[in-house]
């Protein structure tokens, strides 16, 4: 469905996307992770055809993506998007008129379920409600690819839970590629099936959550027992306290020797380690 070959985007001397190769062959909810400035927004905007890439090629359903030819099957929205200051119901109606594949009933049902007052004007909504409305409008589109850039920004815990429900409901009704960028890793893990990690414009990892659950773990024990094991394992980070060491591994599981404990690594810890934020002694 989506093929990205050596996609590069440069802003002057800054490389926002550095030869990214990625293939998304089938429907699913994909979580795009990366630190601030890692290139997530650039990646999404490029994929949607909102900005041109400077090298490589991106195709969606066989059609080459470019700003002059935004793929009809892609819908991108960023958090804090400005909208016309119209009533919620009117904005949903307008979106339905501008998008041939818009599911108006779904949008109204979701607005009702998440207690969005449809007679309120956009500027009178709270920040969270504005974001929720934008997410609903985007997800009500039946496009084959939906890109949501930090859609839960400004949401409280309950709103985030609502959003996850919305995401799952949307996917259940219209299975397609949903790519969601966020910093709230463990929360999105409840609904996402695949993880894409970008760092400094480069693709660091593309894997399923199940795969990460299986391969990401922490070995803890005495340094003299752990260190010899690390030679054959992909160690993504380590923490040493005195003679004890906690090594964060992303590799096949091993049978631990005596004195070594194996713990599950949270997705957040996995992310922190894999982007190189916790490799200290």
């Amino acid at each position: 469905m989506i093929k990205i070959k050596n996609a590069t985007k440069q802003y002057g001397n800054t490389t926002a996307m550095d030869r990214i190769n990625l293939e998304i062959p089938q429907s699913g909810i994909y979580c795009l992770l990366g630190r601030n400035g890692a290139g997530k927004t650039t990646f999404m905007k490029t994929l949607a055809g909102h900005i041109p890439y400077t090298g490589g090629e991106i195709t969606i359903n066989g059609q080459r993506v470019s700003p002059g030819k935004m793929p009809e099957c892609v819908n991108y929205i960023e958090s804090g998007s400005v909208q016309f200051n119209a009533r919620v119901a009117s904005l949903i109606d307008t979106a339905a008129k501008l998008q041939p594949d818009f599911d108006r009933d779904f949008a109204l049902e979701m607005a009702h379920r998440f207690e969005l007052n449809t007679s309120k004007r956009f500027k009178h909504l709270s920040f969270g409600m504005k974001t929720m409305l934008t997410a609903i409008i985007t997800l009500a589109n039946k496009s084959k690819v939906i890109l949501l850039d930090e859609p839960t920004l400004g949401f409280d815990a309950i709103m985030r839970s609502h959003f996850n429900t919305l995401l799952l409901e949307s996917y259940r009704q219209h299975p397609r590629v949903l790519i969601v960028s966020t910093h709230l890793i463990d929360e999105i893990a409840k609904v996402t099936e695949n993880l894409i990690i970008i760092d400094k414009g480069k693709l660091l990892l593309e894997a399923s959550i199940d795969d990460i659950d299986e391969k990401a773990y922490t070995l803890s024990g005495a340094a003299d027992v752990i260190n010899p094991l690390l030679g054959s394992l992909n160690c993504i980070g380590r923490t040493e306290v005195g003679s004890l060491i906690a090594a964060h591994i992303y590799d096949n599981r091993i049978t631990p020797p005596q004195g070594v404990t194996v713990d599950r690594m949270s997705l957040q810890d996995f992310f922190i380690n894999i982007v190189g934020g916790n490799s200290h002694v």
Partner: protein
């Protein structure tokens, strides 16, 4: 024309509150001013040396402001609602056609129904019946009149239909030009265009040969004797200028 494009044109027209309000306020002020003059004239008070600018002229503000607001404000909002650039391109052009037609029609109605028969003939020019082309701004010692661009540009003499078309074509050209100029302001070539425009006006005006070219150009798009030629020139030029938006829009970030 695809339905989505028509819907986009409607969305653009619906979300032009600031241009509508500004145009309404200005036209309202002028209408009230006119009304006061008419009442004073009917009451037999001395309104000599007074000349008015027609309300209809202020309606020109609407397509002009729309051509600024649509690319500068509506574009991003339309895209955020899932609109496509291609539809925005044609939908905006359609919106300008509608606005130019409405404003042109409204001004023609104002000119033929109010400016000419009521205000000038009835209240400002009671002793000198209207003669086509006899437009007089307020000359000392004479009774003033009401200035409407339909007459100032010499379109009134071509009849109602041609005057409507001539005005429509010029408004359409102005809208396309202002839209394009606004859309390119975010890019370096927008600034180059601004400088080029200022240079054209300041350099062309003092040099006789270039001035003649400038006069020829404005004569073609406004004052040309052959109305059909003026209409055709405006529409072709408008479409030509508007086409610049195609690559600009394609590269425009949201």
């Amino acid at each position: 024309m695809c339905k989505t494009t028509i819907n986009l044109a409607k969305t653009n027209l619906r979300h032009l509150q600031v241009p509508y309000v500004l145009t309404g306020i200005l036209a309202g002020i002028i209408a009230v001013q006119m009304l006061v003059f008419v009442i004073l004239g009917q009451a037999g008070m001395d309104v000599n040396f007074q000349s008015l600018i027609s309300v209809g002229n202020f309606l020109w503000l609407l397509p002009l402001l729309a051509a600024i607001f649509i690319p500068a404000r509506n574009f991003r909002r339309v895209i955020n609602l899932g609109g496509k650039r291609e539809n925005f391109f044609w939908g905006s052009l359609m919106a300008y056609s509608v606005l130019a037609a409405i404003v042109s029609l409204a001004n023609i109605v104002i000119f033929y129904a109010i400016d000419r028969p009521v205000i000038r003939a009835g209240h400002f020019h009671p002793f000198h019946p209207f003669e086509p082309g006899a437009f007089v701004m307020s000359e000392p010692g004479h009774i003033g009149g009401v200035a409407n661009l339909v007459e100032v540009f010499g379109w009134a003499g071509n009849g109602m239909l041609l005057a409507f078309l001539q005005q429509f074509a010029l408004l359409f050209l102005i809208s396309a030009f202002v839209h394009t100029l606004t859309a390119i302001q975010v890019k370096w070539y927008g600034w180059v265009a601004d400088v080029a425009l200022i240079a054209i006006i300041s350099v062309f005006t003092p040099i006789p040969v270039l001035r003649r070219a400038l006069v020829w150009f404005f004569n073609l798009i406004i004052f040309h004797d052959v109305a059909v030629l003026q209409v055709a020139a405006c529409i072709v030029l408008a479409l030509g200028i508007y086409m610049i938006n195609k690559p600009v829009l394609a590269r425009r970030a949201i």
